[in-house]
Each structure stands twice: as C-alpha cells, then as structure tokens.
Amino acid sequence: MAAARTEQSERDVRQGFNVTTYLIRRILYAIPILIGVNLITFALFFFVNSPDDMARLALGGKRVTEEAVERWKRDKGYDKPHFFNAQEQGHARFTNTIFFSKSASMFVFDFGVSDDGRDIGTEIRTRMWPSLAIAVPTFLVGLAFYITFALILAFFRATYVDVSGVVACVVAMSISSLFYIIGGQYLISKLWHLVPISGFDYGVDALKFLVLPVAIGIVSSIGANTRWYRTIFIEEINKDYVRTARAKGLSEARILFRHVLHNAMIPILTGVVVIIPSLFLGSLIMESFFSIPGLGSYTIEAINNQDYSVVRAMVFLGSVLYIIGLILTDIAYTLVDPRVRLD
C-alpha cells in the first residue's frame, strides 16, 4: 500500500517535471514564431510603402512640401534607417533604427504612442475590460447552449428532430452576422424598447447594455457551432466503446451524458481552449455596432483613422494571445486525456 503510494507520487513528480520541461520548450518554440510575426508586420508597414508615401497620404494629396513630410516622419520616429544606422556609434547603430524602436520594442510590450498622442499600452489595459465583459459571457453561455443543442440533436439522431435541427443550423449559418445585429437591434431596442440600443457603463449599470450584444453574439453563431459539436458527438457515438456500453444494457441517456460527453471533451477542448486568450481582443463588429469602448472598437477606429501604430500593436498582441492559446490547449490535453504523454 505504502509502496503503491510512493510509486504514484513518484509518477506525479515525473509528470510535473515533464510538464515544466515541456512548457519551457513550447515557450522557446513560440519565440521564433513571434519574431516571424514581427518581421511580417514590419515588412508590411515599412516596405510595401515608404514612410514618405505614408506621410504624403496622411498630410493630404500631392502638394505637400518636403519639410512637412520630414517633420511628419520625425514626429513619428520614421526618419531612421530600417535595420542599421551607420551614423551612430556602438550599439546605437542597431537601437536607433525603425525596426528596433517600432517593432523590437513590442517584445517587452512597449507599444509606443498612437496618433492622438496616447500611450497604446495604457489604452489596451483600460479597454480590455469592456471587451472581456462582452466576450466572456458570450463565450461561456454560448458554449453551454451549443453543447446542449448538439446533445439534443445527437440524442434524436436520424429522426425528424435531428434532420430539421441540422437544416435550421445550415440556414442560420447562411445569414451574415451583420443581419443578426441589425435585426436584433431593431426588434429589441427600437421596436420593443427593452434595452438601450447601444452604449456602455461600468458597474451594475453595464448589465442592461450587455444583455443584447451577448444574446446576439450567441445567436449569430448558433448554426455553425451546434453543427460542429453535433458532428463530434455523432463521431463519438459510432465508436466501439459505445456499442459495448449498450451491450451492457446502459440507457441511451446515460451513455450519451456520461460516456460520450466525457470522451468528446478532447476534440471540443482543441477548438475551444485556443480562443480563450483571444477573448481579450473583443469582437470588431459587435463593439462598433453597440459602441462599446473595448479593444475591438479601438481597432476599428484605428483602421478608419489609418493609425498604423495601433494596428501594428493589435496584430502583435493578437499573435501573442493565439500562441498562449496553443500552449494552453496542450496543457488542457494532458489534463483531460491520460493517454497523451508529453515527450
């Protein structure tokens, strides 16, 4: 008994050690990817168009004086060489360049300032809360809804309930998300006056602003998600262990909710965990339709105002969050699936 326990704890220690080394390796693997992302954005923003072109467009038209262009570039810090500054001494040869000051600095989450002179990092920290207030409930409540619907369809598989459910899903998938938002705002806010049409407030008051976007967010992706989870369940139901369970005389409901649901968690987790960190970014169209001061509307404003530093920062942040999501997915795998070993 005691021997068994030491063996168990020894395995735990070994597993824990494995997880740490594995994590370190994954994080190291993320570094070249982030460097790649950084180089792509750098090339996109500084090689496709020269800073001179961007200055001319920002200042308006062709009749812009050379001094104005130079001043614009100096204000933005775009008047330096790309990678290597021959006029400087020592390490300033590399640090006093566009790449170092605009792109490399993002690795320490120094995003610089936006066109209206505000610090992008601070802006992101204050704007992520409204984004999360919409994205987290949409994600959690939505997940519960989709899985429930999918289980119902899987339970009634190959009957009229299932077939009409799948048809309804395909129709729901074929409607642009814009129509869900416009329709929802019109019906609930304009016609029935249940909640305000758009806006945001902090604290308890936020609730009345949040209900509609969250509900629309859930409804607009109900078709694709329900169908996706249904496919996972159906695939799981066709496996041998389900037949064994049935042969043992278990009820269909018990098989579905205990056996199938548990085993389906593995494919579900792959799709779900990876997007959790990206919830920070919020949804572009949702936030702009409902005027929610989150990161999504921040990005849209930046796109419309052609504020390149903000767009660059969001691209980098988005990739960091995605890579965190990938690492989290791997960890979640080992937690739910004892067969997966990290080596």
């Binding site: 992302v37 923003f45 072109d53 467009l57 642009s176 129509f179 416009i182 572009l284 990005t299 796109i303």
Partner: protein
C-alpha cells in the same frame, strides 16, 4: 466596332478559372475512377437542387463580367472612333432601363411617388408640399390611386404566366431529350421523372427551376414599369444594385480560392511528402501566419494597399479599374491568409500516403518525386481539396460583407452586398424606415450562401470516403 471590349483583371481570372474547371472536367471524363464521386453528386437531390440556384448566380456573375466601353455617337464618320469613359457589362445592356432610370432619391418598392416630401410648383402658380410622382416608376399610370393595384396585379399575373410557359417549354425539352436518349416513349419518360426513377433527380431540378422562374419572371416584368425593390438614396434601382452585387460576392469567393489553392496544395503536399527540414520550414510559415488574427492581418494589408494605390494613380484609368484592382488585391490577401487550414490537412494526408506500398513501389522503380506526387499523391488528396473549396465559398461570401463593414473590404464605391448593408445602417435609423435595400441584400445573399452551403454538404457526402463506405454498409 460599336464597342471596345475591356478585360478587367478579375474578368480575365474568372474566365481563366472557368476554363480550368472545364479542362479539369475534360481530363476526368476519360478516367472513370475519378468520375465516380461526381456521379454520386449528380444523383444527389440536395446537390442538384442547390446547384440550380447556384447556377443562376454564377450565370449573372459571368454575364456581368463581360465588360466593354460603348462607342460615342459622333456626327463625323471620318474621325477616329471614341469610346465612353464608362465601362459597361453585358448585364447592364440586358437590364437596359434599370441602370439608366434613376429617380431623385428613396422610393419604396413598386412605389409611384417619392419617399420624401418636396415642394412642387403648381402649374397655375403657387406651391404645394407633397410627395412628387416618380419620373419612371409607375409613370404610365394616369391615376395612381385607382390604377396602381390592378396594374401591379396584371403585370404580376403576366409575369407568372410567362414563367409558367417558359418552365413548361423547359420541362418538355428535358423530357424530350431524355426520351430520345433512352429510347422510351415520351409519357413513360415523364412518369419516370415524376416518380424520381431516373438516376439524375430531374424532378428536383425542375422544381428548383420552377421556383426561380416563378420568382424572377414577375420581378422582371414588373421591373419594366416600376422599381420592384425600390430605389436607394441617389435614386438607383435596388434590384439592379442587387444583381450587380452578385458578381462581387462571386469573384471574392472564387478568386481568393484561386490564390489559396496552389499555395496550400504545393506547400501542404511538399511538407508531408518530403518531411525533414522542408516540413519544418513550411510548418513554421503557416504557424506564423496562422497566429496573426485573420481580420487584423487583412486589415493591415488592405491599409497598406490603400496607401499604395493612393500613391500610384498611374495603375488605373477609370473608376471601374480602380475598383477592380482593389478587389484583386483583396482576393490576393484573402487567399494568402486562408491557405493554412487546407495546407495542414494536406500535409497530414500526404504524410500518411507517403508510407503506402504503391508509393514505396514507385520509389523502388526509380520514379521521380515530381511524378510520384502528380500520379499518386495528388489524385488521392483531390477529395480534400474539392471539399475545402466548396466549404470556403460561402465563408468568403459572408466575409466580404463583414470586411466591407469594417472598412477593409472592396472599394466603397463598388456595388457589393457589404456596401449595401453598410449604407442600410443609416437608412434603418430614418423614420419611417427605409427597409428595402437591406431586405433585398438579405434575401439574395441568403439564397446565394444557403445554396452554396447545401451544395458543399452534398459534395462532402459524395466525396468523403468514410461517409460513402458507411452508407454502402447501411444499404
């Protein structure tokens, strides 16, 4: 020549894609094993029913892709011919008055009066604030109040009758041809069609055609006298704008695929087949691209293209060419950002196929890598490619609307579903509401995407080897 043909970039690519599809079909015709899944598809009711609707949209898009510049009329024949600045398409000619008969501003579907009140000068002096009559919509009615309803009903009935006649002619033609080919009697063939005893579900095809004809024929007949779906802010006919939007959606969906396919296929198969450092390099590329959120990468690229096009005005002469160039760039960007999913699938499949005995045998016989890939790997991953293309179609049509809303879609002056919806946002805030452009965009887009989705589903069922085996086991 009365006109000068204009081949826009996207037109050329669309027709290139069409000829590639025809070439693909000719290549397969002599290979029955490749043809088998397509034969399954041909016998699927869902596929054929949705294909009829899809064919309608594709036809409109193709007709709208034949561009030309009409010759300006000039009194002196000796002069060198001059052509209009405006580029028209064959569709513009076919719909004729719809394009040119513009009203002053908004008018409701089938309306005879403008949507907004205006001050009108009365013939006997004095002014009146009223809803003025439309210049074209219902202009033939002497007294709209009493004549309007009977006239609309008469035209609808005429349209329906026209549709029924057309459909009957088509049904007779199909039955006649089928009867000749099978050598049966006409009545017998008709009953076979009616009871779905033919291998090809002709009844489903004919029903879908009937639905399209009975909807379109009244619309077309009414459109000769009225603005069937109303007019927009600058008085353009909404029905015309909707028809024009079809081409934009279709182009985005197909051209982005054209960019994505070679990238995904070549890189995916190479990664799986060669393995080693090739695999590592390709995996690194797609993980990096994949880690950037799609919308943001598209937004960043489109922003840069905007700057590029603003600083290089020499690339285009007319507005149509500018719109076209931007559309082309957008397709390019969408293609570059969307190849990673298919690439990963193909890599996995090629990894498995590499270990198959017939590939090993080919290696042992000294067959070159290129030949092994083209003879043994590519045909065996074809089903994955076909399914991915079909599934992407509807996703891309929907993406266009969202991107145009965000401001990184097609040119704001181009007619597209996204721009129509975008404009409709402000119209919804008016009181009373201007609902018709949104409703038309909604209806046409829904039918287009839904038929694409249904077709893609049927295609997947026909091509997915797992499903085919399962259904065979059931039967």
């Amino acid at each position: 020549m009365p006109f000068k043909p204009v081949i826009l970039w996207t037109d050329a690519l669309l027709f290139l894609l069409l000829s590639a599809a025809i070439g693909f079909w000719l290549h397969m015709r002599s290979r029955p094993h490749l043809l088998q899944p397509w034969r399954n598809l041909l016998q699927s009711r869902q596929a054929m029913g949705s294909l009829v609707f899809l064919a309608f949209f594709i036809a409109v898009g193709l007709v709208d892709s034949l561009h030309f510049r009409p010759r300006l009329s000039q009194p002196d024949a000796t002069q060198e011919s001059r052509y209009a600045v405006q580029t028209l398409s064959l569709l513009d000619v076919l719909v004729g008055p719809l394009r040119t008969q513009t009203e002053k501003t908004y008018s409701a579907p089938l309306a005879t009066h403008l949507f907004a009140k205006e001050t009108v000068e009365l013939p006997g002096g004095g002014r009146l604030r009223t809803y003025p009559r439309l210049t074209y919509g219902g202009a033939h009615l002497a007294n709209p109040r009493t004549d309007w309803l009977p006239d609309v009903l008469r035209l609808t009935a005429a349209g329906l009758g026209f549709g029924v006649i057309l459909w009957n002619a088509l049904a007779l033609l199909v039955t006649g041809v089928l009867a000749r080919r099978t050598g049966r009697e006409f009545g017998q063939t008709w009953r076979a069609i009616l009871h779905q005893r033919e291998p090809v579900p002709w009844r489903t095809i004919l029903i879908s055609t009937a639905v399209i004809m009975l909807l379109l024929a009244p619309l077309a007949v009414l459109a000769t006298r009225y603005h069937v779906l109303g007019t927009d802010k600058v008085g353009q006919d909404v029905f015309y704008l909707t028809l024009k939007s079809i081409r934009t959606g279709l182009l985005i969906a197909t051209l982005a695929t054209l960019v994505m396919l070679p990238l995904a296929t070549a890189l995916g198969i190479m990664a799986g087949y060669f393995g080693g450092w090739v695999d590592d390099a390709i995996q690194y590329i797609y993980t990096t691209l994949n880690s950037i959120p799609g919308v943001l990468l598209i937004a960043a690229s489109v922003l840069m293209i905007q700057v590029y096009m603003a600083t290089h005005p020499e690339l285009f002469d007319t507005i149509e060419q500018r719109q076209d160039l931007r559309l082309l760039f957008l397709c390019l960007i969408l293609g570059v950002t969307s190849w990673t999913g298919l690439c990963r699938l193909l890599r996995g499949e090629a990894l498995k196929l590499r270990e198959q005995e017939y590939v090993q045998a080919a290696h042992a016989f000294g067959v070159s890598h290129l030949r092994v890939i083209s003879r043994h790997i590519l045909p065996n991953v074809m089903h994955i490619i076909v399914i991915a293309v079909a599934l992407d179609f509807s996703v891309l049509v929907l993406a266009e609307a969202v991107l145009s809303y965000v401001g990184v879609g097609v040119d704001p002056t181009m007619t597209s579903f996204g721009n129509m919806i975008n404009a409709a946002r402000l119209e919804m805030a008016r009181d009373p509401m201007v609902w018709w452009s949104l409703a038309s965009a909604f209806a046409f887009m829904l039918v287009m995407v839904l038929s694409a989705n249904l077709f893609a589903d049927a295609l997947r069922d026909a091509f997915d080897p797992r499903i085919t085996v399962a259904s065979r086991a059931k039967a």
